[in-house]
């Protein structure tokens, strides 16, 4: 079951390249906007880089979350996976994982480019990548709860943001702390453990909550 489902998601990811390119383009463009609008903020080795980077990552995630279940909902594949799947939970978890591959992982890979553009020192880049690698899965997982509930609304984008952004706060706190510590050359093991803990907790709770939200959305259809 897992193999066939993963294969499908992978093929869709490759064929709908916009789902990878658009978030990345948004991240690059908004980085550019910061460099133009507030050059003093993104000066070399500035203290603000960590905060700006993480907020941009949150917004990028938010943009891509709205599309997480949208296509499946509109085409009816979502209701079919509720009815036909042996374990609907697995189908939801795979969808979340693939959404993370298309945004979170791409952001991690793009960090060496984006970070220095925002004034992040090169020494902080490995720590930032670790923070994003640990933190972005939590963003996808927690975001899936809001995405599942709002997929039935034709214009659910703003409600999704209101629902999900507060859930992102713990990730933001520990994520920026790791980047700051890495920039100052300090040890950030403790924060990394905390971030990993948040992600694992989100992994336990989120797919069930998302599934419950999706069931409500499918019933409203």
């Amino acid at each position: 079951m897992v193999g066939a489902l993963l294969l499908r998601e992978w093929k869709i990811l490759l064929r709908a390249r916009a789902s990878i390119v658009n978030p990345l383009a948004f991240l690059l463009l908004s980085t550019l906007l910061f460099a133009i609008a507030a050059p003093q903020l993104v000066a070399e080795a500035s203290q603000q880089a960590s905060g700006i980077l993480w907020v941009l990552v949150l917004f990028t995630q938010l943009l891509s979350l709205d599309a997480m279940f949208r296509r499946d909902y509109d085409s009816g594949t979502l209701e079919q996976s509720m009815i036909m799947a042996d374990v609907p939970f697995v189908a939801v978890l795979i969808r979340i994982f693939v959404q993370w591959l298309g945004t979170g992982l791409v952001i991690v890979i793009a960090t060496p480019v984006i970070g220095p553009l925002l004034g992040l020192s090169w020494a902080a880049v490995p720590g930032t990548m670790l923070a994003l690698l640990l933190g972005t899965p939590a963003l996808s997982l927690l975001g899936s709860i809001g995405a599942g509930i709002t997929v039935g609304f034709s214009r659910g984008g703003i409600i999704l943001a209101l629902l999900v952004l507060p859930l992102f706060l713990p990730v933001l706190i520990f994520g920026t702390d790791i980047v700051n510590a890495a920039g100052a050359g300090l040890n950030y093991t403790a924060q990394a453990y905390w971030l990993a803990l948040i992600t694992l907790a989100a992994l336990i709770v989120s797919p069930f909550a998302a599934l419950a939200g999706l069931k409500i959305s499918v019933e409203m259809q």
């Binding site: 009816g76 209701e79 009815i83 036909m84 799947a85 019933e219």
Partner: protein, 208 residues
């Protein structure tokens, strides 16, 4: 969802079933036993609750009263459940994967040939016409091991040829021990069909 156990696991039955949608009672006191091998034609005016009854039986609608026992079935709603970026074969493989069944491409291709969409088997579903997509959906019902088919207006968008094929497929499914509940506005030409006509209740229940 399952309220009591019937002796035959393939029998779909409901007694005193009433469904409500957006605060409006669609039908009440509905009783039926659908034994294996029977085809039920579900009739009713627009808005009589045909789709809601099928969604209830599929487990997609929870505003109902009464009891029903429905074995896991294939549900075909107005949305076909085909991903437009994937080819028919890839969609069918996904459906098999959902049910943890093995997918036999040769079997699927043989059915595609029967339904006249073999040349399109590797074309993304988004490029297929509405009727052709319906034909792909028909393959998925046949490939599924589930014995109960819940079909919501399956004749929509089908040409004369495909309508004949659909009737054939439903008849074959019933002969092989499956059962079909089919909402339709066009008569099915299946022998020995049961007709269930949905009518709104005479007295609207004020509240549940």
């Amino acid at each position: 969802m399952q309220t009591h156990i019937v002796t035959d696991p393939l029998t779909l039955q409901f007694d005193a079933l009433a469904c409500q949608r957006d605060g409006r009672v669609l039908f009440a006191e509905l009783n039926l036993v659908v034994e294996a091998g029977t085809c039920v034609e579900l009739l009713g005016a627009n808005g009589a609750g045909k789709s809601t009854l099928l969604r209830t039986l599929a487990g997609l609608h929870s505003q109902y009263q009464g009891n029903f026992v429905s074995p896991p079935g294939v549900y075909q709603g107005h949305r076909l459940g085909l991903d437009e970026l994937l080819t028919p074969m890839e969609n069918l493989a996904w459906f098999a994967g959902l049910e943890s069944c093995s997918f036999e491409p040769s079997q699927a291709l043989a059915l595609a040939a029967r339904l006249g969409i073999l040349p399109l088997a590797h074309t993304p579903c988004g490029k297929l016409s509405a009727g052709q997509q319906r034909r792909v959906a028909m393959i998925r019902w046949i490939l599924s091991p589930r014995k109960v088919w819940l079909l919501d207006e399956p004749l929509t968008a089908l040409d004369i040829d495909a309508q004949r094929l659909l009737n054939e497929i439903i008849a074959e499914h019933c002969q092989s021990g499956g059962s079909v509940v089919c909402a339709t506005h066009t008569d099915l030409s299946v022998a020995h069909k049961t007709i269930l006509n949905l009518r709104p209740p005479l007295q609207q229940a004020s509240s549940w």
